[in-house]
Amino acid sequence: MATLLKPVDVVTIGVGLTGSLAALELGQAGLKVVGLERGSGRETVPDFQSPPIHDELRFAIRKAFMQDNAKVAVTFRNASDQTALPIRRWESFLPGQGPGGSFVHWNGQSFRAQVADFIWRTHTIQRYGQKFLDSCGPELTIQDWGVTYDDMEPYYARFENLCGVSGKAGNIKGQIQPGGNPLEAPRSGEYPNPPQKEPHFGAIFRKGAESLGYHPYPQPSSNLSRAYTNPLGIKMETCIFCGFCERFACPHYAKASPQTIILPVLLQDPNYELPALCEVLRINLDSTRKKATGVTYVDDTGQEFEQPTELVLITAFPLNNVRTLLLSGIGEPYDPKTGNGVVGRNYSYQTTGGPTIFMDESINVNPFMASGACGTMIDDFSGDNFDHSNLGFIGGQYVGAIMTNGRPIEFHPTPTGTPTWGLEWKQAVARHYNHTILVQQHGTSASSRLNYLDLDPMYKDAWGQPLLRMTFDFPENDIRMSQYIADKVVEIGRAMGGKQIIRGGTKRPYSVTFYQSTHNAGGAIMGDDPKTSAVNQYLQCWNVPNVFSLGASAFPQNITYNYSITIGALTLWALDAIKNKYLKSPGPLVHS
């Protein structure tokens, strides 16, 4: 029997980027907020200090910060005629666990989306015509977001200020700025901090890209280029390029994470409560199934609690947002046979994988001297920045020398033909370790009616609830896109002076056995039509208006860029609507 707790105003399911931001904003509005987080507490001091935090085996290989998939895994298959199996070792994507969520172990790559990204369907049809879009793949189900870049711009600026993003603007109110990215969406102002220093690999890329007429710029980074006090009054420090961002936590208060930009203020709020080790089982609905009454969770002793609340915010990793909706019976599950239903629909991912460029041995790259976002890159092939008329695909990728580390276990560049073990392999690693540049291709993932999330009919978690099942393969459109850009990037590699180049590009079938990206998107997408979206433009569930699903599960398809900053902006956008509209008059913010 569940213990009934005292009612609160708001419950967030998960305390990562979206959950901590929501609790902060709504706590400041005077509401009593409880954050339910399945992981245990962790702070910069003492939990993230070196040398223990630089234990590559523990954090990068054994993935100490990730969701415990001995308890809750995700099952996976490429197509709906296959049987899905549980992912027992996270490889392709890495959902975080514990306060701060995945926003602790991220790399700090801090982009905005482009103007066209928010209106991708409308924009594509306007520029190329419906026939062109159909020819890219009849299975594609790309949609507009229901918000525009102009709607989002102030929220982007607010979130960047919170993080202290270090970068160089390339377009301020339509004025192109030297040194920045001339192809970016117009910004209202400069970044809060100047860009990080450019490492040698970035300088080599810059020279090569410039010689081909492209437009290199410094990657915007939430690893800070200087000491900074954010708008909450929290002090951050300068990144020292230790090379342990992704999969790790920052020891230096230099990378934006809930621990460094939000929690020090939030945890002082007497209206906020963060009980440890709470596994949420479901959101409870009343008899009409149109109102949430509270949340049921289990603590680490196995005791069940019911937390009554007026407002539920699902603020978990995107995949877990979708699973929570499905387990709670909120919204109609997507049916791939009929195309009806919305929860689980339009799950999308990210196209990644660039070339490895072997340089002359006189060039010392020093890859270990890096932050997670100190690259030099181009947007010439991003999104719709280039003419697709005769290319037969939509979407694009950014390209850049973005080397995040030279860590001893993970970084072993060897040319094609090198044995995979033994003396010759060791000699090749020693020879190429300091003279190899990795160039990233990173881009869009179009949504498709074939790709979706639902509850697995066979496999269950430690509490007896069905696991989430992922059915996914890259649409042929995305393969054509990635392969087209791969050729262009080989040319850049040659212009950089590469002696040997291992070509990049995404291939089918999608595999969960090697790392690609933790930018899982969609499944509870936003939009202006309840037939094709799970939440409205304010991320509010269409049928249960006191439940909001925040985060990248709302993306109708995935954008070119690493998505954290867009998640932050979208969350602030939804929170403004909750504070200024919903709280004054609880109910649907958009009438279907």
Partner: protein
């Protein structure tokens, strides 16, 4: 802890070793030794007058131990003294005199970097102060939002050459004084990292960190030149 071998990353150690071996030629070290012993014709006095010929200076702690410090770091400090980025009534004129000949700084830095010198016997420190210092050095302080010193200065303050100096065995007086120069804004070199940290520490913290590192001996194989 003293005597323990600090774990090092293989490839990183290899490359740093390689870089140092490349930059510190025997002839360069020999030239540097001459400067240390007798100064330069351009007017720099012998370094050994204060820092001793073996780089351990003296037990007053007025002058830092420089034996085995990275050549890159030592040369950068001398250049910063010469250019005025870092100022010291004592070191500024000496560095300016050294800088009159372009090789002097590199030579003398290479010489002192090449040394593996003993530690002078010192009075035992206050154990409570050392304990507090060890906590700041290894774990930091959540309350003050100060990260562990070892994050950058290496396990047990062994240094992260070439850029970051060792602290293990450095004189307490020098560490305390130097942190204070950052705290007061007097020292202008590396403010982006050290001034921020120093300003979060009080007098007691400075004394504690200094007392801790003075008595750390390390393993001797970390940050040592080839």
């Amino acid at each position: 802890m003293p005597g323990g071998r600090s774990p090092r990353f293989g490839p990183l150690g290899f490359i740093i070793g390689f870089v140092q071996a490349q930059t510190q030629q025997p002839s360069q070290i020999a030239r540097g030794a001459v400067i240390a012993a007798q100064g330069t014709p351009t007017g720099a006095p012998p370094c050994s007058q204060c820092h001793a010929f073996n780089g351990v200076s003296d037990a007053s702690g007025a002058f830092p131990r420089i034996a085995g410090q990275s050549a890159y770091y030592l040369a950068k400090q001398l250049r910063d003294f010469a250019s005025g980025v870092r100022t010291s009534a004592l070191m500024t004129p000496i560095a300016k005199a050294l800088a009159l000949s372009s090789d002097n700084i590199a030579d003398v830095a290479a010489y002192y970097a090449s040394l593996d010198a003993p530690f002078l016997p010192l009075n035992p420190p206050d154990p409570a102060l050392v304990k507090r210092g060890e906590q700041l050095a290894k774990i930091g302080s959540d309350k003050q939002r100060v990260q562990a010193c070892d994050n950058c200065h290496g396990p047990e303050g062994a240094g992260e050459p070439p850029a970051i100096p060792y602290l293990a065995g450095q004189y307490a007086h020098y560490i305390d004084f130097t942190l204070d120069t950052w705290r007061t804004g007097f020292r202008k070199s590396s403010p982006e990292s050290m001034e921020v940290v120093a300003k979060k520490l009080d007098d007691q913290d400075l004394a504690a960190v200094a007392a801790y590192y003075q008595q750390v001996r390390g393993s001797g194989d970390v940050g040592a030149p080839q």
